[in-house]
């Protein structure tokens, strides 16, 4: 078998990059990690590989770029088919994609409203965010992971985003564990997986990065 070249254009704090790091680890794929200076100047390689969005993550597989984290996770699942990340039944796959899409649309944007606002806007943002987590908690139910017994696609899309929750809790004056205890149990369960623990940054470090983002955006 010819040697595969897998490169990830990465940023340590990005939860979207975190998704790809976890997916690659789950599949046992060796890759080279290239850290991008996303707040400074982006590399030629990034701008050439993702000319449309100019964002990380980008996965380069034998030189061919794949962009958008959810698309990349799907690609990894298909290009390295052992240990599938999605269920086999089409209806369950559609359900997994639905919740993946929900997570994509709601979580990061919802969290941004918390760290980038003050006063009334922050309170509304916090209330909406907790509602979103409660919806996810409802769909998790009594299962260990979102699609059942096995860690998979939906868990991979969601768990990196939780590294930003400590920052939201600090700015919003709330604790996810108090509002959504079952959700917190799921977080802890995922963090016990080696692929997850090794791939994700410390929430305290993310908080420092968010503090810097606030300063850069003139929010005090």
């Amino acid at each position: 078998m010819s040697k595969e070249e897998v490169v990830l254009l990465d940023f340590w704090a990005s939860p979207f990059c975190g998704r790809v790091r976890i997916a690659l680890a789950e599949k046992g794929v060796e890759y080279q990690n290239r850290e991008e200076d996303v707040l400074g100047s982006k590399s030629e390689l990034l701008l050439n590989s993702n000319p449309i969005h100019k964002k990380v993550p980008v996965l380069l597989h034998n030189g061919k770029p794949v962009c958008e984290s959810t698309v990349i996770v799907n690609y990894i699942d298909e290009a390295w088919p052992s240990r599938p990340l999605l269920p086999t039944c089409p209806y369950e796959r559609a359900r997994a994609r639905f919740w993946g899409d929900f997570i994509d649309k709601k979580i990061f944007e919802g969290g941004t409203k918390i760290w980038s606002s003050k006063g009334e806007a922050l309170e509304v943002g916090k209330k909406d965010f907790i509602e979103i987590l409660k919806q996810l908690e409802g769909t998790l139910g009594e299962k260990d992971f979102f699609c059942g017994d096995n860690f998979g696609f939906v868990d991979i899309l969601l768990i990196p985003l939780t590294t930003w929750f400590y920052a939201y809790e600090k700015f919003g004056g709330f604790k996810v564990e108090d509002e959504c205890p079952k959700f917190s149990v799921w977080v802890k369960r995922c963090m016990q997986r080696e692929s997850v623990a090794k791939a994700l940054p410390e929430p305290e470090k993310v908080y420092e990065a968010v503090l810097m983002l606030r300063k850069m955006n003139g929010i005090e």
């Binding site: 962009c67 958008e68 698309v71 298909e78 290009a79 089409p90 994609r97 639905f98």
Partner: protein
């Protein structure tokens, strides 16, 4: 399995998202029942029951089980009826490209198109420029192929074709010509319209315009 399938599509005429699902079902030759939702009125109890999270159409109800979000529904249809007319390519890299561009259409092209038909003044002007810039990027993906899917209509063609059906509406409200800016894309759209299953499943572009005018009036846009 095919003969005992019961398929219902919650629909709203003119919606480009519902049109995607109609195209996928027609491409695969699947029979289904339409239940028209009137989005200018309050939502039906059925819609609220089958899509409690977003409360939006389209919803495909397959043997009583609901599938929501148009691109997810199209992929579901492709997987269930995998014995005929594949919509997504087999190769993982080509699949990723098709999904990337479909995601681009949803994130970048649709919001711009909304500014063209639902706004006016400076917002509309900005929307027009944004829309053209973005569909030009998509036009580049056609390369020298007749369709985005290559030799036959595929997933990305289905994702974008409803917006082609909206070009007449956008041009009329925006007072501009999309063909002048993106001739390859318009040629692609005309080519798609020659397929029988396409014409049979979608309202004519002039009918789309009438539907949008009526919708705007009822919603006070």
């Amino acid at each position: 399995m095919a003969n005992s399938d019961h398929i219902v599509l919650l629909d709203f005429s003119g919606s480009p998202f519902v049109m995607r699902v109609r195209l996928a079902l027609a491409a695969k030759g699947i029979e289904y029942q339409i239940k028209e939702e009137d989005l200018t009125q309050s939502k039906s109890s059925l819609l609220l029951k089958v899509n409690p999270v977003h409360k939006k159409i389209p919803v495909l109800i397959h043997n009583g089980k609901p599938v929501c979000e148009s691109l997810i529904i199209v992929e579901y249809i492709d997987e269930v009826w995998k014995d005929r007319c594949p919509l997504l390519p087999a190769d993982p890299y080509q699949r990723a490209k098709a999904k990337f561009w479909a995601d681009f259409i949803d994130k970048m092209v649709h919001p711009s198109s909304y500014k063209v038909w639902a706004a006016n003044g400076e917002v509309q002007e900005a929307g027009k420029k944004e829309f053209i810039d973005r569909i030009k990027m998509l036009e580049g993906e056609l390369k020298s192929n007749p369709y985005f899917g290559g030799e036959t209509l595929g997933f990305l063609d289905i994702a974008f074709l409803p917006l082609y059906y909206w070009f007449h509406t956008l041009e009329t409200f925006g007072k501009f010509s999309i063909e002048a800016e993106c001739p390859k894309l318009v040629a692609w759209g005309k080519r798609c319209m020659e397929e029988e299953f396409v014409c049979a499943s979608l309202p004519h572009p002039h009918k789309v315009y009438d539907l949008v005018v009526e919708y705007k009036k009822k919603m006070g846009i």
